[in-house]
Structure formats: C-alpha cells, structure tokens
C-alpha cells in the first residue's frame, strides 16, 4: 500500500516538474544556465576573457573614408616623365596600389619600369618622392648601362630646372652614383625564388623606411612555365596577388609588375589579352596596356578605380620614356609638383 502511494506521489512530483519546468525554462536560452553549477558559468566567463585578451587589434580599428582621403593625399605618386600619361593617371603611378603594365614584347614595359626606378628618386622639391626602389628581375632584362643613361638624363633635366637654393642643395645629392646606389636589384630564376623573395620582403622593408617602389619584371615569366598543374598555378598567383596588395597597402609603397600578352581564341577570332588569365586580372588595381599601332606606341589605362579609361601616345628615346610629339624639349617635361594640383 505505502509503495503505491509513494509511486503516485513520485509521479505527481515528476508531472509537476515537467509541466512547470517546460514553461519556466523555455522562454530564453540563457535561463538554462541557471541550472548549471556555479563553477561552469565562471569557466565560461574566464574563457571569454582569455579570448578577448588574446585578440590583437590588427583588424579591429576601422578607418573612415575621410581619414583615408587625408592619407592618400599625403602619399603622392611617381611621375613617368611622360606628361600626358601622368595627366591621365592623375599625377603618375600611385603609391599604395598595385599597377600592372602589360604589353607585347618590345613595346617598352621594361623601359617604363627602369624609368620609374629612376623617377622615384627625384627629390621632393622637384615633385618626386626621394625614395629607394627594389627591382626584382625574373627575365634578366635589367641593363645597367641603360639605367645609367636614364639616370644621366634625369639629373640633367632636374639641374636645368633648379631655381632656388633648396633645389640646388637637393641636386648635390641627386647624381648618377646616388641613383644607382638606391636601386636594390634581386635576380629570381623561378617562381619559388620569386615567392620566397616576396615572403622575405617585409623584413627588408622594415630596415629601409625610404623604400617607395617595388618593381617585379616580369611576374608572368616564371609562371608561364607551370603548365602541368594549372590549378596550383592559379592558387599561387592568387596568393601572390594578395601578398603584393598587402605589401603595397601596409608599407605604403607603389608596386609595379609587368605581364606578357597571350592569345585568346573566341569564336573564330584571336585576340591579344594579358597573360595569366582572368583570375590574375583581379589582383592589380590599375592596369596599363602598352601596344603598337602601326609605328606608334600607345599606352591605355584599361582598369583603374580612380581614373577613366584613356589612351596616350608615348615614345622611347635615348633619354627614356617620354611624350610622343615633342622632341627633346626638356622644359616642357617638368615633373608635376604636388602643390600645383
């Protein structure tokens, strides 16, 4: 008898808890923690605190567009000594972005890179950046004698323009020897060396705060030989692109890369397009296409977030990369001084 009553009481107790337990515990998830032991809540809180402390603030801070604008205005750009191209680019090759120069062989990509390597060193009072340059050469196209010619022409140009005391003082430090000493040349023979070099770049940049330009000539050459595993090539290229963009943004340097052209067959027609595919096309922010049109050389901006598509004509003289129409008129090719704009 007593056993039956006990069972009845127990079942009533259980029924009571089921009924009330479900209505009390359901409304919010947090209430279930009420039923856990005190030490579990403390463990969870400690874990959260440890996680918060471990989070570094790298991506945490946001920058408003206004602050970004102010930073961009401080950066400046690298003149190309072709005033029409500089005008189309809004001053020159921008610092902090990845610019790609693509073109058929012999159109002048390496010449433009060498010109930029000299131009980045023009002192600030003449409108340049006064910075150093690291030139990563994968094709063996770096010719020292040509750089000497370009440097000599730039020095002559600037010494003709030197008007006031500050500029004359700056000219004493701007000579062919100093220009050559500020170019760091790295020779990479295959894609592994290229990737390794870019991997080690942040340490190199930390020791040289004056470095303002990274030139990779060319990025296509080591990868064009990777035929067997195209998906690996795509992944490597995407990683490389991200690394270049990260370097450009974090260290405020201009990154200039050169690319080859390849033929794409569409329908029955063939078309010259930049090599390495559409996937690589997303990596550079600005793309300059150098091409031949009969005997003229044209430079077109085909992709840019801040500039309209434009085409200008240029020429390569013994002095370097210059505007097309004008012959050796040095006065007209004055590099743009930032205060003008």
């Amino acid at each position: 008898m007593t056993l039956q009553i006990e069972n009845v009481i127990r079942s009533v107790w259980i029924w009571f808890w089921c009924f009330f337990g479900s209505t009390v515990l359901v409304p919010h998830q947090g209430s279930s923690s009420r039923w856990t032991q005190g030490r579990s809540i403390k463990n969870v809180e400690e874990a959260l605190e440890a996680l918060q402390a471990a989070r570094t603030g790298e991506g945490g801070a946001s920058v408003t567009a206004l602050e970004l604008l102010q930073k961009e205005e401080e950066f400046g750009s690298i003149v190309t000594f072709s005033s029409r191209l500089d005008e189309a680019l809004g001053g020159g090759i921008p610092v902090g972005k990845v610019t790609e120069i693509c073109g058929a062989p012999g159109v002048g990509k390496t010449q433009l890179c060498l010109q930029l390597a000299v131009d980045v060193q023009v002192p600030p009072c003449f409108g340049g950046l006064g910075g150093q340059v690291i030139f990563v050469d994968t094709e063996g196209s770096f010719q020292l004698q040509r750089v000497v010619d370009l440097a000599g022409a730039a020095v002559r140009h600037c010494s003709l323009l030197a008007e006031d005391e500050e500029q004359r003082v700056a000219m004493t430090t701007f000579s062919v020897e100093t220009i050559l000493s500020n170019i760091f040349l790295v020779r990479c023979r295959d894609y592994v060396e290229l990737l390794a070099e870019l991997h080690l770049l942040p340490d190199f940049l930390r020791d040289r705060p004056k470095l303002r330009l990274l030139v990779v000539d060319s990025v296509a050459f080591p990868f064009l030989r990777l035929h067997d595993d195209l998906s690996q090539r795509t992944r490597l290229l995407q990683g490389l692109g991200l690394q270049l963009i990260a370097t450009a943004t974090r260290h405020s340097i201009a990154v200039v890369i050169t690319n080859h052209m390849t033929t794409r067959l569409r329908g029955g027609q063939s078309q010259l397009v930049p090599a390495l595919g559409d996937v690589w096309g997303h990596a550079p922010s600005i793309r300059l296409l150098l091409q031949w049109e009969e005997s003229r050389r044209l430079a077109s901006i085909v992709k840019s977030p801040g500039h309209m598509d434009a085409t200008v004509q240029y020429q390569i003289t013994c002095e370097g990369f210059r505007d097309a129409d004008q012959s050796e008129q040095l006065q007209s090719k004055r590099p743009r001084i930032q205060t003008d704009q």
Partner: protein, 334 residues
C-alpha cells in the same frame, strides 16, 4: 552539441549523469535520440524519470515555429530597401538592396564591380544619411574617387566630409582577418559605428573571392569550411542587425567558355540575388567608356536573365544629368 551537465534540468543529478556517461550518453543529442527503455535498463533508472528529463531537454533546445502572419509582420517592420542610386540597377534589384539579405555582384577584371560598390556607398552615406561599412580586400579602395562621386552630388564641402565620415573602411588581406572583422562587427562593432548619425545599414565586402579563392582546391580542405564560415557570419550579421550585405565575386569560365560567377556551386546558394557585370563590347563605344551591362543571374523576386545597361559615368541620372566622370574635375568635358 550541448553536453549533459549536472543540474541542467531537475532530476539530472550526479549519479544519473555518471551512469549515463558509463552508457556512452554524453550530450543532449545522444540522450534524446536513444531508446529510453534501453537506457533505463542499462542505467537502472526509472523509465518515467528519464522520460521527463527528455521532455524537459527537448523543450529547452527546440526551435519554435512562427506563423506566416507573424513572420510577415516582422519583415514589414524590420526590412528596409536601400536604393543603389542608379535607376537601372534598382530596376534589376527590384528597387534596391534589401536588408537582411546578401546580394552578389560578379564580373571580370575592369567590369566595374568596385565602381558600383563606391556608388552604392556614396549614395547611402550621402542621400540616405546612413552609415556604411566597407571591407576592402583588393586594395582598390580610393577615397579620392569617393570624393569625386560626392562632388557631383553636392557642392557643399561640409556635407561631403560628413558623408565621408559615415563610410567606415577596413582593409584586410586574408580570410582569418576577415572572419575576425565580421565577428567583431557582430559583437559590438556595428553599434560603435553608429556614432556620427545614422545606424549601419549596409556592409559592402569587396571582394570576398580575393581572400577565399586561394584556399579552394588543392589538397587541404579547410578552404570550403572557411568559405561557409564567412557566409554564415555574413548571413547572421544581415539578419540579426537588419543590414544589407553586398559582396563582389570574380568570374570563371565554364567548360563551354561561358562566363559564370566564381567560388563554385557551394557559394552560389549563399547570396539571395546575383548580378553579373560586363563591359559593353561594341565598336561605337569609344566615346562612352563607362558603359556596362548588368544581367540578373539569380533572384527570388524577378525573372532571371533580364539585362540593364548603365553608364558608370552617370551614376544617379537615368538620362542626362551631370556626369560623375572618372577624372579630375579641373579637366574639360569632351
């Protein structure tokens, strides 16, 4: 996977827990999906006690159905439609970006995805006076271009500066930083960005494929799981905070040579609306370099495959109006 803990519900005491663990029942799922009679016999516990515990746990851990009418009411009160500022795009998107959803823009290099993102950010910051979060992974964010677009909308420099201050930018270059940023935004960042007038109504990620595509394929499988984590973070942010999420994607060529959005089939289920951008390839286009064509690839509201042409230079005007030209203002118009 909720682990069975002591005191989780009345009746679940230490001894019962120990005997359940001995029978290899450690989590709520294990208990709920096991045969109660069997377990009662193994652990020598009363059947009724286990049944009541199971009922309480089910009640604690279930999702509750909501009626369609309530859901509709909730949608009406919490969803907003943000116009992109471009009438052609608005037509494609059924009047604009919907909050609580992910919209995707894909296109090849130079097709105008970043320009569209800039246009949307400027329109929301200036016209709608709401804050925008812009996460840039391509390095293409140029504040001077944003300023140019604002200068065609208004001449007042104060308004321009105010609008620029409403756009909060992040520059990240790998997927872990992106996840970190998204989680940070979910857990309080969005409230902080509210300062300066207007709550955050749009989050633009340009582009999501730049950080995820290098991880997909290959021997390691974490690329796919990271992609889905990013998708889950974006979706919860969109739903919980009522923001419109706009992402950009690259394109790949399918086997037949046709252009399709990248990141594969798994990603194609994530955005609610997908638009494919391309350049207009006609010979007569030399004078209008900003012409682009947008195709609706996936939509739950409109018929797919509708195309709209628009001009990047004339963002806010349907026809005529001042060009928001992509060049310095001191140059003359053609």
């Amino acid at each position: 996977m909720a682990v069975l803990l002591e005191g989780m519900c009345p009746g679940l005491d230490k001894d019962l827990l120990r005997s359940l663990r001995a029978a290899d029942i450690r989590t709520v799922e294990d208990l709920v999906s096991s045969d109660i009679e069997d377990v009662a016999q193994k652990c020598s516990v009363s059947y009724k006690a286990l049944l009541s515990i199971r009922r309480v746990l089910l009640a604690q851990h279930t999702a509750f159905p909501v009626s369609g009418a309530d859901l509709y009411e909730e949608l009406l009160s919490s969803t907003a439609i943000l116009s992109t500022g471009n009438p052609s795009l608005d037509k494609l998107l059924d009047s604009g970006l919907y909050t609580g959803e992910i919209t995707e823009l894909s296109g090849g290099p130079g097709s105008g995805k970043s320009q569209v993102c800039f246009g949307v950010a400027v329109h929301i910051a200036h016209r709608l006076k709401q804050s925008v979060i812009y996460i840039d992974t391509t390095g293409g964010l140029t504040a001077s271009r944003l300023l140019q677009m604002l200068q065609t909308e208004t001449d007042n420099t104060d308004e321009q500066m105010e609008a620029l201050q409403r756009i909060h930018t992040f520059r990240l270059f790998d997927v872990c930083a992106l996840l970190d940023c998204l989680y940070g935004l979910c857990s309080g960042g969005l409230h902080k960005a509210r300062v300066g007038g207007g709550s955050v109504k749009a989050v633009i990620v340009d582009s999501v494929s730049a950080v995820i595509a290098p991880l997909l394929g290959g021997r390691h499988n974490e690329g796919m799981s990271l992609m889905i984590q990013v998708a889950a973070a974006l979706k919860t942010m969109a739903k919980d905070f009522s923001v419109a999420v706009l992402v950009t994607n690259h394109v790949t060529r399918s086997g037949s040579g046709e252009v399709q959005p990248g990141l594969g089939v798994s990603w194609s289920h994530i955005p609610r609306t997908r638009i494919l951008l391309e350049r207009v390839e006609t010979g007569a286009c030399v004078s209008r370099p900003g012409r682009r064509r947008a195709t609706l690839v996936k939509s739950s509201r409109q018929a797919c495959r509708i195309k709209e042409d628009f001009d990047l230079q004339r963002w806010s005007a349907a026809d005529g109006g001042a060009p928001s030209g992509k060049r310095k203002l001191d140059q003359a118009d053609p």
